[in-house]
């Protein structure tokens, strides 16, 4: 039943997408595109809920494509991802309708075509049970998101961002092709239920190819370089979908691949170490670069990298726990990671959509130009504040629930595992704590500079609140942040259903460990109740007393202006300076000099070190090598014919040689 429902959703989305493409520039395309996404999401959610209630179901049809059948199936893991994908795509769709409205004259039909295509392909990615189908869906997902990123292709930086994304998506794809050929090439069968490690193929090679190939999509460092370019380039609802759920298909891919490689208990310990170290590096590097950016969507993109790092930490602990034979630790790590997948989908789409509302209202993504937005944009501001607290993993909101489980897995591992595992757990704890501290810097800075204080420019002074439908979406997501924080154990229960097949033994009861989460919910509720009580107390005390308004204390300075406020750069500079050997910030400055100093300025920029010191030189070298072959191609047709003749002759001779 549920695979049929899902196929219906996918077909509906595809038909709607084609309709949007045909409507092209017509006004109706915009509204229809959003409606299609919402209806498609409702059907997909129904299929996932049905699958979670009744268990795994499969739909297998013969098709003319070689290597197996048209095979889709929904198990707990697929259903878990379907729910996240559908919810975020539906909300992104609603938001997109009013967001895109003011791109007059653009081909919105095309944009909605690719949006719904992306949605449908993501659904296929997480349910495809055949490698050929999976790879086809994966490729459609990459291409449709490429076209969404290049929506504003008139701008050069958008084209460049799209280009970087396209290349990295295909480098990842190459690894995945190699991986599936290694897995299924010998038996000529690519159906997932028959895929298993063939004799003579190294499991380690498969694992590493999966981490690199899927990691390129997920944004694991150093394959993350496309994210900080692509997210600012894309329209905000597309950034929300890409960052909130599309990059998570990389996580899904890693998990799904691991199911082909035998039982979790049989995996070597270094696999877990690999993911854990990769997660720690990804998390710390991601958040460090996030707090050095001036473009709000670039900040959010780097923070997505950080969150993928946190998820990988959880996955690493899961594998280390499995290798050590401790189901509880493994379960806490995996459920924590999965929960963080959901949580990140919620708060990151909230943040991107909130940022979109700000861009909409002010026309700039540069946070140094903003300030004081909380007054004109009350609703967006509250939602963004809730998102900021949640994304830092602070109670009482949802971010803390997932991170707590990952921490709990690590602390449990210190006590319950032997060998080198406790060191890995301590590494995870230190990394999570450092990431948490850095995230607090990053998001107090982002929210504080954008929404608090006085406006730093004219555009910020004339900002206005977002439209009703955008506000409703923001409120739904903010409400989800609060709700998941309060009923974390119930959500963790859903994640536990998804995790069932990926744990070493299912017999063990993980209920008591998840019961810890009720304590967290209690504390969260306590926090909210206390804060409310103190608010009432203050109101009682203030009753009848003078409550005055005055200027901010400026230490007696006579003419304060909004330009004297602390800027985002100055707020984070001490931290950037502390980590300057990693971040390599560049400063250009002209200091005031002489008795009558002229204009002075100071600019700090922090570019991605992996782009600067690895990819740019690498591709420059490839280009140089290519240059040295340019003499082959010079435009003379006669010589080209000669090449063909020589090649054929050489082949003929080779063939003759091997015949004997």
């Amino acid at each position: 039943m549920s695979p049929i429902l899902l196929s219906a959703a996918v077909c509906f989305l595809l038909a709607g997408a084609v309709l949007c493409a045909m409507l092209s520039r017509a006004k109706a395309a915009n509204a229809i595109g959003g409606i299609v996404a919402v209806v498609g999401a409702a059907v997909a959610i129904a299929s996932a809920v049905h699958a979670l209630q009744t268990g795994d179901e499969t739909l297998q049809l013969p098709w003319s494509v070689p290597f197996g059948s048209f095979h889709i199936s929904i198990d707990g893991l697929s259903a878990f991802f379907i729910l996240a994908i559908s919810a975020v795509c539906a909300l992104g769709g609603v938001y997109g309708v009013s967001y895109l409205r003011h791109y007059k004259g653009k081909n919105l039909g095309a944009s909605w075509f690719f949006f719904n295509l992306l949605f449908a392909s993501m659904l296929m990615v997480v349910t495809a049970w055949n490698a050929v189908l999976f790879l086809a869906a994966w490729e459609v997902m990459s291409l449709s998101s490429f076209f969404l990123v290049t929506f504003e292709h008139e701008r050069q930086e958008v084209r460049k961002a799209g280009w970087v994304y396209l290349i990295s998506a295909h480098v990842g794809m190459a690894c995945l092709l190699a991986m599936f050929i290694l897995l299924g090439g010998q038996n000529q069968v690519m159906d997932f239920d028959q895929l298993a490690l063939p004799p003579g193929v190294s499991a380690a090679a498969i694992f590493l190819l999966a981490v690199v190939g899927f990691g390129a999509k997920a944004g694991i460092c150093p394959m993350h370089v496309w994210l900080p370019d692509a997210h600012p380039a894309a329209p905000s609802h597309v950034s929300a979908v890409m960052s909130g759920v599309m990059i998570k298909t990389g996580i899904y891919g890693i998990l799904r691949t691991l199911t082909f490689l035998g039982s979790p208990a049989s995996w070597p310990g270094w696999w877990g170490w690999t993911l854990l170290v990769a997660g720690a590096i990804t998390g710390v590097v991601g958040i460090l670069f996030a707090l050095a950016q001036h473009d709000m969507k670039r900040v959010l993109a780097y923070s997505s990298i950080e969150n993928v790092g946190v998820i990988c930490l959880g996955l690493g602990l899961w594998m280390i726990g499995s290798a050590g034979g401790n189901t509880i630790i493994a379960a806490l790590g995996l459920i924590g990671a999965l929960l963080h997948v959901w949580n990140h989908a919620i708060f990151k789409s909230l943040m991107f959509l909130g940022a979109g509302a700000v861009v909409h209202a002010t026309g700039t993504r540069n946070i140094e130009q903003l300030g004081g937005l909380l007054k004109p944009m009350k609703h967006t501001g509250v939602a963004f504040a809730i998102g900021s607290i949640a994304i830092c993993g602070l109670p009482p909101f949802n971010g803390f629930v997932g991170e707590f489980l990952i921490y709990a897995s690590a602390f449990g591992g210190i006590v319950g595992l032997g060998g080198s595992a406790p060191i890995a757990c301590l590494l995870a704890i230190a990394a999570l704590a450092l990431i948490g501290g850095l995230a607090a810097v990053c998001f107090t800075r982002l929210f504080g500079i954008m929404f608090l204080g006085e406006p730093r420019s004219e555009v910020a002074r004339h900002a206005h609140e977002a439209g009703v439908s955008m506000r409703v979406v923001l409120w739904i997501l903010a409400g989800a942040c609060v709700l998941v924080g309060l009923v974390g154990p119930l959500v963790a229960g859903v994640a536990a259903l998804a995790a069932e097949d990926l744990l070493p033994s299912t017999g063990l009861d993980i209920g008591p460990s998840l019961g810890l989460l009720w304590r967290i919910s209690g504390a969260s509720a306590g926090l909210i109740v206390f804060a409310g009580a103190f608010w009432l107390l203050r109101r009682r005390l203030h009753a009848g007393r003078p409550i005055e308004k005055a200027g901010t204390w400026d230490c007696g300075y006579a003419e304060p202006t909004s330009r004297m406020q602390y800027t985002a750069s100055s707020f984070s500079w001490p931290v950037i300076d502390m980590f300057r050997h990693v971040l390599r910030p560049t400063l250009t400055r002209q200091l005031p000099s002489g008795p009558f100093p002229g204009r002075a300025h100071l600019t700090s920029r922090t570019h991605d070190i992996f782009m600067r010191f690895f990819y740019v030189p690498l591709f420059a070298m490839a280009q140089r090598l290519g240059q040295s072959l340019r003499w082959v191609q010079h435009g003379r047709n006669q010589v080209y014919v000669l090449y063909i003749a020589v090649t054929l002759l050489a082949l003929l001779l080779w063939k003759l040689g091997t015949e004997q």
Partner: protein, 304 residues
């Protein structure tokens, strides 16, 4: 009996934490050869502040007014999670240290936002320093507790502290000493004491914590000061549990030892503040890195 001791601990913490500040100031006064302000000065201050109206800056929004409320709520949750020496916390469960660290993180987050809400460059400066220093303190704290967790095979704070010295002093002494040293540095940094921050400084440019709350007054300031005293209590209690290797197995006696320990720590802070100068701001991160390194060595020692 044990639960009774825990309840008494929370009641005493709530009622006596302002006295800690009084003790520190009295010790500092004695060192300077002054008579010093009354031991109960903070109580008088709080009482007075609670009877005042408010002046809010026109720049500020609800964030500024929410900061003190969240701060005091967070620290109340923290108080219920912290054991005092061998007396278990009111709410003890596996992984409570994570919640403890993160509610304090929430308190800091909202204080920083409230500071940025005023639009003052000074408060921005203080906020920037606060987040910079705490990002180093947090890993050190969790690693230190991780080290204790290895030594005791337990991962709830009360469990760790309850069994830390159960198998004799010799086995855990090196770990405990290093973690205690690390915790002391974190205590000084997180509670804005010398050598990290000077609670008595008069120059806005050099302050950290005090400058962030410059614009708060009246009831809000009372909440902030009371929350700061409670936070100091939380860290003193954490420190006492590692530094005071006494266990009587009579909850009320243990409680008395713990209380004595907390006030001794306050005196030690007073001595440190009287005998040390403030570090240059650039040196503070180095001091915090030392605390993280101490915690790491403690981990390696515990793992051996």
């Amino acid at each position: 009996m044990i639960i009774l001791a825990s309840i008494i601990h929370v009641v005493l913490a709530l009622s006596l934490s302002p006295l800690l500040i009084g003790v520190i100031n009295r010790v500092k006064a004695k060192f300077a050869g002054r008579r010093g302000r009354p031991l109960l000065q903070l109580y008088y201050d709080l009482w007075k502040l609670l009877h005042k109206g408010a002046v809010y800056s026109t720049t500020t929004t609800w964030v500024f007014r929410t900061g003190p409320l969240v701060g005091i709520s967070a620290v109340l949750v923290a108080i219920s999670l912290v054991p005092l020496g061998r007396v278990p916390a009111l709410a003890a469960f596996d992984g409570d240290i994570i919640l403890l660290a993160y509610v304090l993180g929430l308190m800091r987050f909202m204080t920083v936002l409230a500071a940025l809400d005023t639009g003052s460059a000074f408060e921005g400066m203080g906020a920037g320093r606060e987040v910079q220093f705490s990002l180093l303190a947090e890993p050190a704290l969790l690693l230190g507790v991780g080290a204790l967790s290895i030594s005791t095979g337990d991962w709830s704070l009360s469990g760790i502290y309850g069994s830390l010295f159960a198998d004799g002093l010799a086995a855990v002494a090196p770990t405990a000493v290093m973690v205690a040293a690390s915790l002391l540095i974190i205590l000084l940094a997180e509670n804005s004491r010398i050598p990290v921050d000077d609670p008595n400084t008069h120059l806005e440019l050099t302050m950290i914590h005090e400058v962030m709350v410059l614009d708060h007054g009246g009831v809000d300031l009372a909440f902030i000061q009371y929350a700061a005293a409670l936070k100091l209590w939380v860290f003193c209690a954490l420190f006492v549990g590692v530094a005071l290797p006494l266990q009587m197995h009579w909850p009320l006696v243990d409680l008395a030892f713990g209380m004595a320990g907390v006030f001794i720590v306050a005196m030690v802070i007073g001595v440190i503040e009287s005998t040390m100068a403030r570090l240059r701001l650039l040196r503070v991160p180095q001091m915090l890195v030392v605390s993280a390194v101490l915690a790491m060595i403690a981990v390696l020692w515990a793992l051996r």
